[in-house]
Every structure is written in C-alpha cells, then in structure tokens.
Point group: C2
Chain length 287, copies 2
Amino acid sequence: MDDYLAALDFASTDPRDAADAEGTEGLVDAMRHSLLAGGKRIRPVLCLATAASLGEPAERMLPSAAALELIHTYSLIHDDLPAMDDDDLRRGRPTCHVVYGEDTAILAGDALFAEAVRLVCERQEGGPAVKVRILAELSLATGVTGMVGGQYLDLNDAGRESPEALARVHALKTGRLMAAAVHCGLALSPPAPEVDAAYRAFARELGLLFQIVDDILDVAGTEEDLGKAVGADARRGKVTYVSLHGLAGARALAEQTHGRARALLETIPGDVAELIDITDLVYARDN
Amino acid sequence: MDDYLAALDFASTDPRDAADAEGTEGLVDAMRHSLLAGGKRIRPVLCLATAASLGEPAERMLPSAAALELIHTYSLIHDDLPAMDDDDLRRGRPTCHVVYGEDTAILAGDALFAEAVRLVCERQEGGPAVKVRILAELSLATGVTGMVGGQYLDLNDAGRESPEALARVHALKTGRLMAAAVHCGLALSPPAPEVDAAYRAFARELGLLFQIVDDILDVAGTEEDLGKAVGADARRGKVTYVSLHGLAGARALAEQTHGRARALLETIPGDVAELIDITDLVYARDN
C-alpha cells in the first residue's frame, strides 16, 4: 500500500497540462508529507481485505484503497489546523501546517480530496457503475452526515453528555469512513443482501472498536505508541468512552465490541482471515 | 438554478441516518450562507447552456450544474479564510468565517465539496458512465492541476513576473473550473471530436475573458458592483492583467478575447444563443 501511495504524483494525465503543474511542487510536497508519514493504513487495508474475502485480487482495488487514505489524510490535516484541534504532532511528525504554513495545509487537504476522486475516476477497475458505487460511498462518508459533520459535532461538543450522543459523534467522525472502506471493498463483487448486511454490521462494530481503543490509548498509551500527544482529550475536557465509563468500563466495552465484530465475521462465507487479523489488531492496540 | 440550490438540504438519503444529522444544522447554515448569497451562477448557467446547445433539457443537467456552484462556493469560502486571502466581504455579505468562525468555515468548504460529489452520484441522469465523465472533469478541475493548484500558485506569487506565468495561474485557478462547466455540459450527448474541440477552445477563451474583466473591475469597478472590496489586488501587490498591461491594454485584451470566444461559438452547430449571451454578459461586466 505504501509503495502505491508513494508513487502517486498528482500530475495531470494530459501531457498538454504538464507545464501548468510547474510551481505546484510545494503543494505536492505538503500532501506527501502527511500522506507518507506512516500511519496504520487501516482504511485501505480494510478495503483490500474485504475485497480479498470475496476473491478479488488486491490490485483491482488499489486505487480506491488509496483514495480512502487520501481522504483520511486530508481530514487529519484539516483537523490539526490551529482553527480546529490545533495539534503540532501527528504520526510522530510535525503537522502539515507547522511545516508548510496554514494556507498550504488547507490547500493540501483540499487537493487530497480532489485527487482521491480523480484516482477512482481514472484508475479504479470494474467499469463506471463500480466507480460510481465507490464515489457514492466515499462522498456520503465524508460530507454532512459523515466525517465532516462528525468533526463539526466534535468541535461543538454537541450532545456529548450521553453515551448515545458520544456514539453518534464517533459514528459520523470516524465510523462512516471506516465503514466506507468495507463498503468500497464490496463494490467489485457485491454479495447477496444478507451477506452484505453482515459486512456492514461488522464495519460498524469495527469503527466503534477503533474509537473506544483510541479513547483508551489517549489516557493509557504512550506518545511513542500514538505518534501524537497523550492526554489531549482530557486536557480539552472532551467526553470520551473513558470519561463516561472509566478505564475499566471502556476496556470492557472494547472487549464486547471486539466479540461482536468477530461473531459477525463468522457468519460471512469466504476467506475472512485477513479481516479477523485486522479486527484483532485494532483491539490489540490496547492489549 | 437558485431554487434548485436553495432546496438542497444536504441530509442523508438513508432514513436510518436521519438521527445522525441532528446537531449539524449550524454546519448546513454556514454552507447555505455562502451558497445562497447570490452571485452570478456563471458556472451552472454555462453548463446548462452548453447542454441546451446540444438539445438537452436543463433539468437533466441540474445536479451537475449545482455541483459546479457548490465547488465554486467551497473555493470562495476557503480562499477568504484569514490564513489565505483574509477577506471579510464576499457577494456583498460578511464571509463565512466572519459569521460562523474559522473552524466551521473550513468544514463548510470541505462539506460542500463532498456534497457536490454526492449530488452527481445520486442525482445526475444519464447513467454511471455520464456520472464518471462529469466527476473526472470536476476532480481534475479542482485538484493540483486545477483550482487548488492555482490558488497555491496565486498565494505564492509563483512566476507572476511574466504575462505567460500570469495566464497560467489563472488557467488553473479559475479557468479550469469554468472550462469544466462547459465540459460537464457536453457529458450527456458528447459531440463529434472537432465540435468537442471547439467547445473546449471556447471554454478556455471564456475563462480567460472572465479573469481579465475581473482584474479590470478590481481597479475600475465599484464595491457595489463587485460585492467585495475594490482595489484588493493592488493593495496586495498582486500582478494582474491591469498591472501588466495597464487599464487600456487590459481592455484591449478583453475585447480580443471576447472576439475569439464569439468566433469559436460561430463554428459550433446547434443553438448557441445562450452561450453567446453568457459570453457577452461576461464581457459587459466592464462595459
């Protein structure tokens, strides 16, 4: 996955346009700074593993898998901005705006989103209907009722007083794109409706598990593990799974969620070994 | 067009998700504040007029026409941010970040882009191949070799010392999306290659004309005409068509460009009356 991402040059496919890209190298550097800073690549890996469980070779899904990572990276760049979460450190590196300035960081995020859409349009296999299915998933997971809406709720601490409200913020902010990774992985060979439903239910549980573990790591992890400052949520007075349920309570919740995700995978025909590995890995970040 | 834009609610199409949108009303308000502030709607109108010249009824292109305006609005919101051009007034109203804060303004721009993609995926007529053709045009016009790359060059005053470099910045920053409006209008009934080429050449001239007139208005217009502060380019020391060629020189350039655009339209079969009107209107903003 990292090789594929590193090879993306974001240049025009039209040779007549090559001259126009002259001078945008600094913008591309900023995009690559954040895109190639490591990270777990969980969304692309999840997308490829889902496709693999349906017998699709990884190569056929690589453009959409990469698009998921481009979109995730764009959201990290924008979330880290001074006007938002104001984070200086991400994936163990200075954040995009610290290195390249706020203006370039905003544009780098914007461009990553555009290039994600372009990648699917130009390189995804399977024909136009598959591309549209994937772009519909990506845009729905990214807009008002997805990632951006969730970040808005998070910034405004909307209704975080209850466990249900917290779950809702996370469902939008991280859950939808995580789920979209699974949904995109289904696009090339859509399974029967009941199997599709099982994949989608699994995707929801995995997204939830990811967020609970993230909240646990924010208090129980190390800066080295996280690649970012620990205790940031508590300092901001954010309601988290830990602040709502205590550390032991959050860990019990993670265990139950992991159990439900694993149980759902057992109902899915096909080779779900990689999906099991990912589920265990997400859980094991705190174990 | 305005009725269609005003009716967009950016809600999920899945009734199960309705509850998730609760609390995002402020984000949607910010999006609508900028989207429904009037403006010339030149991109959607151009898209619809292009489709009309090929015999397509406007209704069939409305979602993509609206998507163009969503993307244009998102770019205005981000360009106006304090970290970018730091503009307080746009389309005669306080800019998005002045009213809703920087964080919400960044997210409103992000969400408008996502919702533009969703609109094409969910509502554009003509089948998946048409949708992909349109999304490919939109993403190419928006990314590194389009609008965002152009804004990056503009902020960094890259190579603005020569007339050619200036033309290149504008080709990316405004020309590409303006041209995409024409290209999207061709998507439902693609014309023969030589006619297609004439449409595309016309689109380039119109984008250029638009920018020259914009530069002229920045020194010769009134704040009432523009809906934004006049003289902003000069205060920022920006190289413009006026600073390079003088006011009379820029006006001569506009006249020549208008002539070339009109001449190209004459080579196109079909009823190009609306396209002629738009071309004259763009030119007449300074006349």
